[in-house]
Symmetry: C2
Subunit: 532 residues, 2 copies
């Protein structure tokens, strides 16, 4: 499979020339505009995509598990087949290093295949059955069965920082398609070419599977206006978004103001606090330096542009803490800047760092060197006291990119107060030894109320995609803490239960038929019965 | 256990004299005010309740399953112990018949005991485990475990039409307490005495279980202002509501406008369409009359004040349909009005019926007789054509009480168009025989997109409380179709997942400890493993 980029939206299988203006991708390492131009659609063209998605609903949502899983695997296969082409374009558009691009491509196809397994396994259909009790007094009890169905078409917003794994064929798209929801992806305008290549691979899989072409559309449009029109469209029943707090909360407001409000699953802002206890600082200098290196690796990887980047690290006051901070300073000095995703993202980073540095008593701990390309600033680490942190909201703000703030604390009591003040977070990490367990234990239930994932002696970047992961958390980490945007539980975002009372087998959908043609595990009278 | 009503809010175990005005319950059958007066709290008194609920979170959410289930059963036991007192007051305050009051009391304690079983069974904790893969290349994979925890304190709004089963100790309270959430109930001002008696039973159970008293509060306050203050309070993390569309959407707006938006589970408005097919009309006159009687029983039970009351019935045009409508008219004439819950509810019913009757070509099918008490209007059935229904939004509005509208349709194609136009519903019912299956089958997937529960040859009132029931559905039936407010799945509304990465067993909460001290079923590497 080889392609020349066409530079248009793909709406229900057709390349549609946008009636709006034309935009270009840019190489952030050089500032150079990349051909071709991409035409932006207007709102009437958007209607074609949303109407087709609504029409396509039954085509996808009624597929049997085997055909449904095959379709997801075909998407993965098509992406793999043009892997080189994807990476080539991605490197130009994002400035990310090749190893990261290759790893992200692998994660993208693995996610799709993991959801294919989930579709084959079938527990997400949530089948429940309370058989009739005809002899019950004073009234017989009817047969009632339950299953979960897709909520309907889903709008997905491609993320700037995961041009593959959280973009056109990313986690939101994979989980929505697995749930049985047609998907309309609003491409991120920072990687339009990568988006088209991946969108073409999905479109081809839809056609190969014989599905209604409205199962997938990829649209290019002016950021906020077309995004808001998409979320406002009555055909759209849910939203998956990864991006800034401002953009995410704006979509939340649009969704809440609809005549029929819909859920928004926005993954937005997190500073991912890390708590370092005295125990781990009781080692030799090499140990200090290893811990400092691991911290900096987590801060600077992908130029710090990760949702789980540790933006806030709590270090005890005292000599050992001082020694650790010094080691951090030394390691930071050895780091080099990497190209950021775009000039505007670099601009926001710079503004955030300048604002932080200007706060009273915030001190520079260490600074690396600038990268050789454009938009590749020197990584920086600052520190401040717990008291300053408690009193200054600026110190709580996310800086997206390679920067982090160390807060010096006196006691675990300090920490509990600080944690109570934190906004919702994707992650919190504890670095400790056995000796610190009794100090750390009371923090765990307080942290649980603030975050989606807790780690011990590990750094939050490098999110595993499996059944147990939670990439979620209380607002503003996400708009809906009841779910996750990474891992197999993500499918539940796009499902809702339907009950069938006293239904004849002839009218019963396959998942709830008594003879269980799909071999699903079922909760019968409240207990799960497993099928072999 | 015997009580004299005190007429005050119960905040974290204490009777608190409200600083606002005093209100009275009324006997809707006579218009008489009922002693004592109930003092309404102001917003600063509300803060005492929300602060106590936040403080009480750990006390409830960390209980082991046995103690947790015992607590729910103790609430049920305390309610049963004062069953006579509850019924006596309820009859005075609501005008409901005694059989209904007794049945509802039974349902209330059964719900609590069902959730106690759910807590003992433990699947709602959603334990998942992906064990470490230390040999994985290029990077080892850490151990990750997941469980669900309570979202935090929940605000519950007592419903007027279920003064027990959807009020102080109703479904929302039971599912929230089972999830581990402290609850603050805003009493419905139409049954303040019933609320106090039940609230005292819960308060006693909290004390007996040795829980933090903030686990439960019952507040009386001026309807909309204190309710909005409660939903706005930062300590509140979710909302359970059953009531009118206007009140529900108003709470949704308040929740969305918070600095930290929270979910609202509002069950609001549904007209519960019923589709009668030709097959069931091909019977003798007795058959027609039985079907008509069953319809009227469902329309008039509890004076029609049920969320699942069939407000809209589709009947084919033609002779058989005419004969059925005539049978309905005859049966309606034999019905008698029953006291409605309150004078304002009666007023809304009257207004709705008058507005419906005034629409072009809406015809009266039948009218019963007025009841002998106040606020006991004659049940009424109207009819109109499918074309009128499609063109006049007034015909889509819920009339809460004993009234229903028959729509005459020509063909199943008519029905598909009509269904597409319907708002979201709690239920839809099909009355048919084997001969109608091929006509009805294409409607099922279209109806699934509109409703939470589908019935065949059954009427939607009389909701079973079990594992498979769905009492939910797309807006405006509810504010969040991804869940249910009746049945055991309701617990999921108040839960969110948390993941533990690389955690030592010593810091791991009990549900996710490797040795599985609570004997929970666990999803290991994606497959459920059952414990005996």
């Amino acid at each position: 499979m080889s392609q020349n980029l066409k530079g248009h939206s793909i709406i229900a299988g057709e390349h549609i020339v946008g009636r709006g203006k034309t935009i270009y991708g840019y190489n952030p390492a050089t500032g150079e505009a990349l051909e071709p131009g991409f035409t932006l659609i207007d709102e009437s063209q958007l209607k074609t995509a949303t109407a087709a998605a609504a029409e396509a609903y039954q085509s996808l949502s009624t597929l049997d598990p085997e055909a449904h899983a095959d379709f997801l695997e075909k998407v993965a296969e098509n992406i793999e087949a043009i892997g080189e082409q994807i990476t080539r374009r991605l490197l130009l558009e994002t400035g990310l290093p090749e190893a990261r691009a290759t790893a992200e491509r692998g994660r993208t196809v693995n996610q799709l295949r993991l959801f294919a397994k989930v579709v084959r396994q079938g527990d997400f259909r949530g089948v429940r059955w309370d058989p009739a009790l005809p002899e019950r007094q004073p009234m017989p009890c009817p047969d009632i069965r339950q299953r979960k169905i897709s909520v309907g078409p889903v709008a997905v917003f491609g993320a700037s920082n995961f041009p593959l794994a959280f973009s056109v064929a990313g986690g939101d798209t994979a989980s929505a398609l697995a749930a049985g929801s047609p998907v309309i992806v609003k491409a991120h305008n920072a990687h339009p070419g990568t988006s088209e290549i991946v969108g073409t691979a999905i479109t081809q899989a839809v056609a190969d599977a014989g599905l209604h072409p409205g199962v997938f559309s990829l649209i290019y449009g002016p950021g906020s206006s077309i995004g808001q029109a998409l979320v406002s469209d009555p055909a759209i029943k849910s939203v998956g978004f990864t991006g800034s707090r401002a953009a995410g909360t704006s979509l939340m407001r649009v969704a809440a103001a609809r005549e029929v409000p819909i859920p928004v699953h926005a993954e937005m802002s997190s500073i991912n606090p890390v708590f370092i206890f005295n125990g781990v600082l009781s080692n030799d200098d090499d140990g200090m330096s290893d811990l400092a290196s691991a911290y900096l690796t987590s801060v600077t990887g992908s130029s710090g542009q990760l949702c789980t980047q540790p933006g806030l690290v709590f270090v005890p006051t005292g000599e050992k803490g001082d020694a650790f901070v010094m080691a951090v300073g030394a390691v930071t000095g050895l780091t080099a800047g990497q190209t950021m995703l775009s000039e505007p993202i670099y601009g926001s980073w710079k503004e955030g760092v300048e604002q932080l540095a200007a706060q009273p008593s915030v001190e520079l701990v260490g600074k690396g060197s600038e990268g050789e390309t454009q938009n590749a600033p020197a990584p920086v680490i600052y520190q401040a006291t717990a008291e300053q942190f408690r009193n200054n909201p600026v110190l709580h703000q996310e800086i997206f990119g390679a920067a982090s703030l160390i807060i010096r604390y006196d006691s675990a009591d300090d920490l509990i107060n600080v944690i109570r003040q934190l906004e919702g977070q994707l992650t919190a990490s504890l670095h400790l030894t056995h000796d610190d367990y009794s100090t750390a234990a009371p923090l765990v239930p307080v942290l649980e109320q603030k975050v989606g994932r807790l780690l011990v002696n590990d750094w939050p970047t490098g999110v595993e995609v499996n059944h147990s992961i939670v990439h979620g958390g209380p607002f503003p980490a996400t708009s809906d803490a009841r779910t996750t945007s990474v891992g197999t539980l993500a499918i539940e975002r796009f499902l809702r239960p339907v009950a069938y009372q006293n239904f004849p087998e002839a009218l019963m959908p396959a998942p709830v038929q008594a003879e269980n043609p799909w071999g699903l595990n079922r909760r019968v009278n409240g207990e799960v019965r497993q099928e072999d």
